[in-house]
Symmetry: C2
Subunit: 336 residues, 2 copies
Amino acid sequence: MTIYDISEKAGVSIATVSRVLNGNTNVKPKTKKRVMDVIEEYGYTPNAFARGLGLNTMNTIGILCADSSDLYLAKAVYFIEQFLRENDYNSILCCTGYDIESKKASLDLLLSKRVDSVIMVGSNFISNQPEENKYIHDAAQQVPIMLLNADFDYPNVYCTLCDDYKAMFEATQILINSGLDKVLYLYNSQSYSGLKKLSGYQAAMLQDNLEFKREYMQFYQGERENIEAIADFLTELADSGLSFNSVVASDDILAMGAMKYSRRKKLRIPEEFAIIGYNNSLLTSCCEPPLTSVDNRLQTLCNQLVKTLMGVLSGNEMPQKVIFSGELIKRGTTNF
Amino acid sequence: MTIYDISEKAGVSIATVSRVLNGNTNVKPKTKKRVMDVIEEYGYTPNAFARGLGLNTMNTIGILCADSSDLYLAKAVYFIEQFLRENDYNSILCCTGYDIESKKASLDLLLSKRVDSVIMVGSNFISNQPEENKYIHDAAQQVPIMLLNADFDYPNVYCTLCDDYKAMFEATQILINSGLDKVLYLYNSQSYSGLKKLSGYQAAMLQDNLEFKREYMQFYQGERENIEAIADFLTELADSGLSFNSVVASDDILAMGAMKYSRRKKLRIPEEFAIIGYNNSLLTSCCEPPLTSVDNRLQTLCNQLVKTLMGVLSGNEMPQKVIFSGELIKRGTTNF
DNA sequence: TTGTAAGCGTTATCAA
DNA sequence: TTGATAACGCTTACAA
C-alpha cells in the first residue's frame, strides 16, 4: 500500500492524500472523508523511510549509555524514553561500555542513522582529559548533544545536572558533625560527576580541619556489582591499619559493600559506624538498617533534559546548563 | 555531501561510488582507491533514510518492554541491544507500561517505523485471555515477533524461554525436603511466566501431599519496588493467622520483602525460616544472609533470541521455541 | 569495469 | 480546493 494506491482508490491525486495525511486544512471535508475511508479500509501506513528522506528526520533521538543494565542508568534511560515518546520522538539505544573508542564508534553509528540529537546518559562520557572529549565537538556540529549529569562547555551542547559537589559536601559534613568523623570516601568512577563528588567530600573534610588523609579516598577498581569484593576491599584496608568509622560512597552499590564490611566487623550501625550512599536506589531498602542516601532527582533531571531538547529542536534559545540540587534522604545508617 | 558530490569529485558515476560503498567486488582497485580517498577527504556518510527507502530496511529492531528500569528487564534489554549491535542492528526501545492499550499503541508505533522485527521482553506481553493477544497476530503478519520468556504458538512468532515451571517446582521441592514445608508462594504477576512459576509451585506442593492451602498463594498488588509494603503485606498475613515457615517468591524484590518480614518477626534464617527468590539479581547479595535465588540464564536466553532472529531474517528455518533450564543458586537463606 | 536510468514513497512547490 | 511534478539520495538492473 502506497500513497498512489490510496489516491487511485479514492479518485484523487497523491498530493491530496498527502494533505489529508498531514492534517493540511486546505482539503474539502468531503474529499477528506473519502480519503480517510480508503486509508481506513486498506489499513494504510505511510512509509517512514520515504518520509524521512523528504523531511530529513525520522523523529528519533539517539541515547548513548555506558551500561543500561546499571540500576541508575537504567532508570535514566527509562525516564528519558518516556518523556521523548510523549513528545513524539523515538529512542535508539546504544550501550557503549566504558571504553572511549567504543563510545566514539557508537556516537558515529547514531549520527550515521541520522538521529535528530544524541543524549549522553551519565557523566562517564566526559573525560578529565580534554583531548578525549574532542569527539563531542564533531558531533555537536551536526546535532544538539544533550548531557545528563555532566558539564561541558561547547556550542550546541546542553547540560542538565545535579550539583553533586554540594550534595556530597553536605553529606560528608553531616557525618562529621554527628561525631563519626573518620570518613572514608569510596568511589569507582573518575568521570566528571565522580570527581565532583570527590571534591565535595574533600572540601567538607578540609573545612573542618580534620586530619585529612589521602588514604581516606579509596578508589575501588573491581567488578561494579560484586558487593562481596567491595566488602573485601574495605576489610583489607581496615586490616592493613587504616582506621575509619564511617563511609561515604559515590554509589549505593558501593555502600552495600560497606554494609557488608560493617557486618563482618560486627560494628553497630549507626552508633559505631555510619554509611551514606548515593542515588537513592532500590538498594537502600534492601539492607538492614535501610541506607541513608543522596537523591539526585533523576526524574526531574530527565524531564528537564527532554524539555530543553524539545526547545532546541524547535529553534528556541535554551539554557546551556541547568543545575538541580540533590537531597539527602536520611534512613537508618546514620544517626541524625 | 551526497553520492553525486562524491562521484563528481572522483570523476566517476554514482553507481561506482555506490559499489565502493557497498563493497562490491567489480571495481578496479585504482578506481576504488580514488573514490575512497574522496569519501575520506570530505567525510561523507551515506544517507540512511535514502538507503532505507531503497532497501526497505534500516536495520533496526524494535524492543518492547513494560519497564526498562526494572532490574531484570533492564538487564534483558542491555544484553539484547549488545547482541543486536554485534549483528549490525540498532534497537529502538519502547517502554509500554503494563496496560494493554499502551502495549498495542507501542507495537503499532514500532511497525510504523518499519522495524525489521519486534522483540517483546518479558512475559507480560502475553495475556492468559486469548483475545488480548490478538494484536500480536497482526504484527506477526508484518515482521517476525520474538518473545523473551513467553510462549505463544503462532506463525512468525518465536519464543525463547526458561522453563520457569520446572525451576519453581524444584525450588519448592527442595524447600519442602529441608523440613520448612509450610511454603508461602508470593507473586505479583499473572503473566505467562508468572503463571508457569505458580503452577510449578503448586505441583511441588501437591506432589508431596502437603496440606495445600489456597491462602499459601499470595498475590501482592502494591508498588513493585516498595519493599516495606511487601513486608507489611506478609506481616498482615501472619498476624491474621496464616502460618508459614518459608517463602518462595516470583522475584528477588518480593523475596527482599520476605527478608524484611523475617527480621521484624525475629525469625532465624535459614533455621526457622527460609526464602528463595527469582532472577538471581544484584539484590541477592545486598541482604544478610545473601539470598538463595533461581537463575534463569538471562544472558543465554538473550543470546539465543538474537541468534534465532538473525536466522529468521536471513531466511533460514528456525525453531519456534527454544527452552532453557533454570538453576537454583544456593546461598544463605536456605539450609541445604 | 563502468555508466545510465528507473525506482523506492513521500513532501512541497507551483499551476490551474 | 486540487493536480502535476520535482526533489530527497540511495540501490540495482541493464547497457555499454
